[in-house]
Symmetry: C2
Subunit: 317 residues, 2 copies
Amino acid sequence: MSDLKEANDLVQLRLIFLGTSSSIPTPGRSLTSLALMRGKEILLFDVGEGTQRQMIKIGIGFGRITNIFITHFHGDHILGLLGLLQTMSLLNRDRPLNIYGPRGIIGFLRNNMRYLKFGLTFQISVHEVKGGVIMKEKDYVVEACPSEHSVRSYSYLLKEFDRQGVFYPEKASKLGVPKGKLWSTLQRGENVTIGDKIINPDQVLGKKRPGRKIGISGDTRPSPLLSKLFSNADVIVFDSTYGEEYLDKAKENMHSTCVEAAQLAKDAEAKLLVLTHFSARYSDVSKLVFQALKIHPNVVAASDLEVIEVPYPDERV
Amino acid sequence: MSDLKEANDLVQLRLIFLGTSSSIPTPGRSLTSLALMRGKEILLFDVGEGTQRQMIKIGIGFGRITNIFITHFHGDHILGLLGLLQTMSLLNRDRPLNIYGPRGIIGFLRNNMRYLKFGLTFQISVHEVKGGVIMKEKDYVVEACPSEHSVRSYSYLLKEFDRQGVFYPEKASKLGVPKGKLWSTLQRGENVTIGDKIINPDQVLGKKRPGRKIGISGDTRPSPLLSKLFSNADVIVFDSTYGEEYLDKAKENMHSTCVEAAQLAKDAEAKLLVLTHFSARYSDVSKLVFQALKIHPNVVAASDLEVIEVPYPDERV
């Protein structure tokens, strides 16, 4: 039944926080980067200075990175990208790589590669995003949505498609479908024909099970657009540069407070809020978590090299 | 006698290794950067990715950096520069800063600051070096010399001027110079007049005492030009990407082995050789030190955040 097993296999999804500091690093926090590891591939959201070394420290390797998403053109979100590309080339990568970012990313890369003269050993496809679905894979999409920061910036959402429902072998047997390949066909959602009878997958499968939704805000003020983008997300990773006592600064610098992040997560009915991008003024961010917990019941603060596993909604305990 | 004390004061000179890895960082080694802290100022040689965070970790601050020297345009030597400039601006620096580097550095900075849009809060003067004395201060100069690497590259030498000789108070008293301001004048190497008698500093001072010479190779093959540049240096910090077993690779990639570094230090009659820029293949570099010690009696391997104090030649024990 290996076919059936594979079709039922769950894809592991982990968030690995490579850098959780805003603008200036601290002894304990590197600059912004988040690795979303889904199955065997890594999607990297922002590549602040120091990202490659954080990846080396945690030992996840560079080969699995398939797609890189840049939220905006501030140094603390992009200045690790060139070093990462250089290191991938030094390691003789040949797997193609997609890079998504705001308008200007093509010029930024082209100019710097001219100065730095490191020959890429692999193909990169660089995409200037405008919003909407920017990437579609077999079982998920990534959407971009303009966020509200001091420069052109985007938030991203990874949205898995619904999975097939649970397969009921006894129903299949009762309908006369022999165990084996045809079970897998039904499990994949395709009809099978037994004699002159067409068996429909709905007859043997439970109802569809929802995929996961992961939202990554980048630097932003809260906004109705983002509440909508992130609605019903399993996890929102949100700008929490400041505590509520610095709301004025958050507004001035186009960031969010932990409480604003929590309010947005509540409005969006997100299951878990992960605070990140902390101002260097906070050596201990537990205060920010407590402030946010007054608004939303499920809040954690990201720390460098921390791994958060994201279960499917129907697996959540 | 505070004037006399000040005139006799020694200027502390320390080398602080911020990154000692070649091309790819490792868990224990950040990318290349060396802070030469002389008195209250810091001269930074190369600014690999991660330099600002290393400085934050060791707590030496950014305000004292007066001059930055880039050896060449490889990412692992320059990709921390933009983040450092951004951080200095976020900290509202107003002290001007000099940046020296190979041809192209002006364009590199201009282009990136256009993309990254961080407004500098301070003036930078960017100098494209060609070799020779590139900077002259009250009591030292910095020289650049072309090195032999795969792209245009320079080695640097900091050379202090000779200091005045030891002041002999008894000689001054015997010549009728009253204790006080005039002693300081003589100590500074200027004549004083007592009645109709001109007293020459040579009459009260010992012979001039040599200043210090610090050589920083950057990435390079050994070369006669560098042996000459570094002759009689107190310290040479030299490319030691490989052990002697990888001489072929060193030649191919235009780097040096530890043994070649030691031979150059020996030829130059340098007092201390500091090996650095180690290939990521070496987690333990003691083997490289032992290989080098067969050629030169005084060799150490740099490690990240290590501080080496450099005494004056006449103070050395």
